[in-house]
Each structure stands twice: as structure tokens, then as C-alpha cells.
């Protein structure tokens, strides 16, 4: 089975809980365990929160972010792909941004662990960003015991994630 979902929401703090819960609800089609679900919620929360607090910190009211999910598998498990995209300020130095404890918002009590958490909690991670255009985070997570043969796309994502480490 292939199942997809696309969500476009305003980049508001009020939507953080909604966004992670919506992805978790979608993921139920792969029958994830409790701990798989909580890892997914955490990773989504990191990506969505970044788009809310960093991407649009200098701009207006009608900023949106989108979340796309693609589930491949069945009730015994499979693979869940998630992308979170914003049209915000972009990241000038991606290498630095990916470092643990690196944050540009130290005064707001941010810890700089968001990207590290996404990379640790998911099985694949990649980051694309362009200054002035926006940022796209792509991640996937294998769900269930059934061994999943990753497609070539997944392998490419995984390699890029490893290179970024």
C-alpha cells in the first residue's frame, strides 16, 4: 500500500501540537509501536518548530509551512517519509546549523539540538535550504519488524544524512 497526505498550515506556535499529532495519526496506517510514534512526533515537532521560530522571524502574518507524508507498507509496518517545507529566510551555513548545540537563538533558551534529534530519531534525514527561498527537511523512519528494502531514493537520503553528520 502507498498512502499519502499533504497538510498546509500557518506557521504559528498554536499549530505545533496539531502538526505532530496529525502526522502521528497518519502514521497509524503502518501500525507503529508507541516508541516509534513518539520518536516520529518528536522529529516532526523539531522540524515544524524550526519553520515557526526561525524561518519567518522577520516576516509577515501569512506565512505557511507544509508537511507531506508518504507511507509505504501495511499493518505489519513499512516506511514513513516526511517532508517539512517552509518559504522562509533559509539557512546560510547548513554545516554549522547541523552541529549539536549550534543555535542562532540562544537568548530564547533554544538548545541547538533540533537537527541532532531529527537525525537520531529518524532512519534518514536530509536538509535543503536556500537563503531567501526557504528550507526543506526530508526524513524517513522504518516502522515495524518486517524488514524493509529501502528504495534508491531512501539510500540517497540516508547517505546525504550521514555526510552531514
Amino acid at each position: 500500500m502507498v498512502n499519502t497526505m499533504k497538510l498546509e498550515i500557518m506557521a504559528l506556535g498554536e499549530n505545533e501540537a496539531f502538526a505532530r499529532s496529525a502526522v502521528a495519526a497518519f502514521a497509524l496506517c503502518l501500525n507503529p509501536s508507541f516508541s516509534e510514534l513518539s520518536d516520529i512526533k518528536t522529529a516532526v515537532s523539531e522540524a515544524v518548530t524550526n519553520s515557526i521560530v526561525h524561518a519567518y522571524k522577520h516576516s509577515g502574518q501569512h506565512d505557511t509551512l507544509s508537511i507531506e507524508c508518504r507511507a509505504e507498507g501495511d499493518e505489519h509496518g513499512g516506511i514513513l517519509h516526511i517532508t517539512v517545507t517552509d518559504g522562509g529566510c533559509g539557512i546560510a551555513d547548513m554545516e554549522k546549523a547541523l552541529l549539536p548545540f549550534y543555535t542562532t537563538l540562544e537568548n530564547d533558551e533554544r538548545s541547538g539540538m533540533g537537527f541532532t534529534i531529527m537525525q537520531t530519531f529518524m532512519d534518514g534525514f536530509s536538509l535543503e535550504s536556500e537563503v531567501g527561498k526557504g528550507t526543506k527537511v526530508s526524513m524517513f523512519r522504518k516502522i515495524g519488524k518486517k524488514s524493509v528494502v529501502a528504495t534508491m531514493d531512501d539510500v540517497a537520503v540516508k547517505e546525504r544524512a550521514d555526510a552531514g553528520r
Partner: protein, 102 residues
Amino acid sequence: MQILAETQGNVVYLHLRGEIDEHNAHSARTKADRLVERYAGSERAIFDLREVSFMDSTGIGFLIGRYKRFQRFGVPVYLTNPTNSTDKILEMSGIYTLMPKV
């Protein structure tokens, strides 16, 4: 997210309850800092995380922020009862070197 303070002798327990994310941490900070001031004379402070149902990196920043405030009064801070997923994040961040798990 809710915070409840409870004292046992000269030790203050701060029970955190609910979801800790960027959005709801704002009001919790103000409330937590009032509690820090009120219990500034404690021998030690312990954050009880048993009822934290969700936490992301915001939780790390939140706890370190309160740690710094308690530190001004010389009050050592500890963490207790994290759920598995909370523990995973806290472990990764190295926060237990500042606030040991008890």
C-alpha cells in the same frame, strides 16, 4: 503544560505535567521562575518528569534555563522519573551532567 510545587522538608519537588513544546513553554517559564524565587532557600530542587507526555528540544532549553536560575541561589537541581522518550532526549543532550538523574 502545568507545574506543581511540593516540598518535603527542605527539598522542593517541581512536578511537570503535559506537553512541553515551544508554544506552551512561554507561560510555563514565567510560572516556573516564580517558583524558583519562592523556593530559593531550598537545599535542593528536583524536577519530576513522570507526567511529561511529550517533550522536544524545547524541554532541554527549559530545564537548563531553570537550572541557571536555581544556580544563582546555590540550589542544586536534579531530574527524576523521565519517561523513555524524555530520557532519550535528555541523555543525548548531556543535561544529566548538570542535573543528575535521581
